[in-house]
Subunit: 393 residues, 2 copies
């Protein structure tokens, strides 16, 4: 007999949220989502693929995804303000050689109080260079570097200096590898530069595709949130441009205009100049965590993030995930902490339903404090609706 009723069994659900900034890691979001699903479909198959975009949380997501092939290490390097900082990084075994996972947010992150206590003009990415050099010394030749979430705006000058370049003023004296000094650079001496990165595979993960400087550059877009005063934006931007010009001259190649050069306060510029390849962080993470494989045979995907707004539509993790799901014929539902109602019509073209966390009028602080419970509730309710729509004749 032919009926139009699909077989009544729990759907295979892929959970692929980004972190909920300020409240839940991507892994914690997956756990909350899974607990909500279990209330409706106990024993149903859930495939958790916590996501990241190259920023905060990328290291944890990639290490967890690699399971027993991954090892977590700690090394002490300089933080953004120069203070010695024990930073985590990872190494993942792979048939093509070990891959080092570096998360810039864990070294010079905007959430690091000690670094943020130093004025932005004095912050530097030297510690990132120190870690890369140490990893090269360890024999690493494949790198995944998560950009994003940095407190620095030095164009990656700190990395270049740590790798052996000398930043010189018109008197041939060394200047500091931090924004306040970059405007005095006359020449970059790359004689002693460690060039091993050039023969390495360096993948740069970021959701920022802007060039180094100019009206859509690192300083203009992200300087203010790092502490660059409104009336200093032009000076900071000119300093980055000058540093880039002198560095490009010294190396005989260009990177300042490339997409992603403006990521992590211009660190994307320096690392591309040294041979790194820019990739959409969310796309790369989706590949690394095996999202496409998880979607095979799945019936529903749920994603989320702290706040969904116009930025989401520019290619944040939930949008990347939704595109992958669509390609696989799997509907994707978005459950973020909050939604900017103005972009809901656009979100509606990508998602099979968007639902925010609050159960009623509430403060941001309360919503963040209860995020896990609210997320489980919201996923449960979405699953109840799914179940009713799917299985009632």
């Amino acid at each position: 007999m032919c009926t139009h009723e699909p077989p009544r069994r729990p759907p295979v659900v892929v959970l692929a949220p980004d972190k909920f900034a300020g409240s839940l890691s991507a892994q914690a979001a997956c756990a909350a989502m899974a607990s909500g699903l279990a209330r409706v479909w106990p024993g149903g198959e859930v495939r958790s693929r916590p996501m990241a975009d190259g920023g905060e949380g990328t290291l944890d997501v990639l290490l967890a995804s690699a399971g027993s092939r991954a090892a977590r290490h700690v090394r002490t390097v300089r933080g953004a303000g120069g203070q010695p900082t024990a930073v985590p990084y990872g190494v993942i075994d792979s048939p093509d050689g070990a891959i080092a996972i570096v998360e810039v947010a864990r070294i010079v992150g905007i959430a690091d109080a000690a670094g943020m206590a130093v004025p932005v003009g004095a912050r530097s990415t030297q510690g990132v260079g120190e870690l890369l050099r140490a990893l090269l010394d360890d024999g690493m030749r494949r790198f995944v570097v998560g950009l994003g979430g940095s407190s620095t705006n030095d164009g990656g000058a700190g990395v270049l200096e740590s790798l052996g370049a000398a930043l010189l003023d018109s008197d041939g004296a060394r200047v500091a590898a931090s924004p306040s000094a970059l405007g005095r650079i006359e020449r970059v001496d790359v004689t002693a530069l460690d060039r091993r990165l050039e023969s390495c595979e360096v993948t740069l993960l970021t959701d920022v595709d802007v060039p180094l400087s100019g009206p859509y550059g690192a300083t203009a877009l992200f300087g203010p949130r790092k502490g660059v005063a409104e009336d200093e934006l032009a000076r900071f931007d000119e300093a980055l441009a000058r540093f880039a010009d002198r560095t490009e001259s010294a190396l005989g190649r260009h990177a300042a205009a490339r997409p992603g050069a403006g990521a992590a306060g211009g660190l994307g510029f320096a690392l591309q100049l040294l041979g790194g390849t820019y990739r959409s962080g969310a796309e790369a993470v989706a590949d690394l965590v095996g999202l496409d494989a998880a979607l095979q045979g799945a019936e529903w995907l749920i994603t989320g993030e702290g706040r969904s707004d116009a930025q989401t539509l520019t290619g944040k993790a939930p949008l990347v995930v939704a595109r992958r799901a669509r390609s696989a014929g799997v509907p994707a539902t978005l459950i973020p902490g909050a939604i900017d109602s103005a972009v809901l019509p656009d979100l509606g073209r990508h998602f099979a339903g968007c639902f925010a966390l609050p159960a009623g009028p509430t403060t941001g602080a309360a919503s963040i404090a209860q995020a896990g419970a609210l997320l489980a509730d919201r996923v449960e309710q979405a699953a109840r609706l799914w179940d009713a729509a799917r299985f009632r004749p």
Copy 2:
């Protein structure tokens, strides 16, 4: 060929929300819901059955439902504070005789500023009695009286007085038909009482099933919100009990202990004593608006209300609607202004998904101000999820 895919056509959707108190009438809620559905399924069949529970909005809902069989009238009677008030009521033609629709909230309502300006001890339901007497004089013999939303706590003494009863003290002098005087009643003289209601069909609609007095009576549960001070609750309650005792003695029958006697500040007592029959307001309205017929052949029902909490589970309109839907094999989704998360597990047993209006952290005032737009958005998103779950293979 047999497939498990249902035919891809918009589902027939029944919209049966209660009012969103403070923001949307039930009709406005239906309109907002319908606009959200139209974004997903343009041209889809929508059956709007705005709901009420006997309180505010009942008159409008019933008149709209009756269409051309209904007429709206206005008569001037006394409001709760004694002020002349033009109150609306309705008459619906029916094969068994015209039905008068009276909404107590429109006569002595808690939203009426003039009535609320008078102390609760001086408020009276006299105007309700005046309207009933006038309707009897007009020849009406069938009445539907929506209780609920009243500002009074007089046990219906005002109605009895308007219908001809005399409330007398120990000296045989008349006392006022308001709470402050009821404690002095020694005897009720029903010699001149208009007894025509006893041979009428009087249906009392309310969502309050408590008795007249005592710890779960009208005064204990609803007195404080009407302005009865904490230290006067006992005195008000004793006055109601005394009034009821003397009135029951005079008429030789009882009603004070019946469910619903405590509705509308005890008006439920007086009207039951005069021959009225108590019914769940939402159940009666569901019958009057033809909800069961609307559910025939429907695939989904959406309901809502201002706030869903433990009260909802005691039989408010959304729960009544969900039960009717379940009997018809139609899943019901709840989209209220806010949800008390503590009762979500219980709500989950009745509804195929519960989603509140806010798109993120917000104030109650902002949520109320944008209720129509938020409701349309939320219904749209639920419909997108429904569509994906229903129609993807």
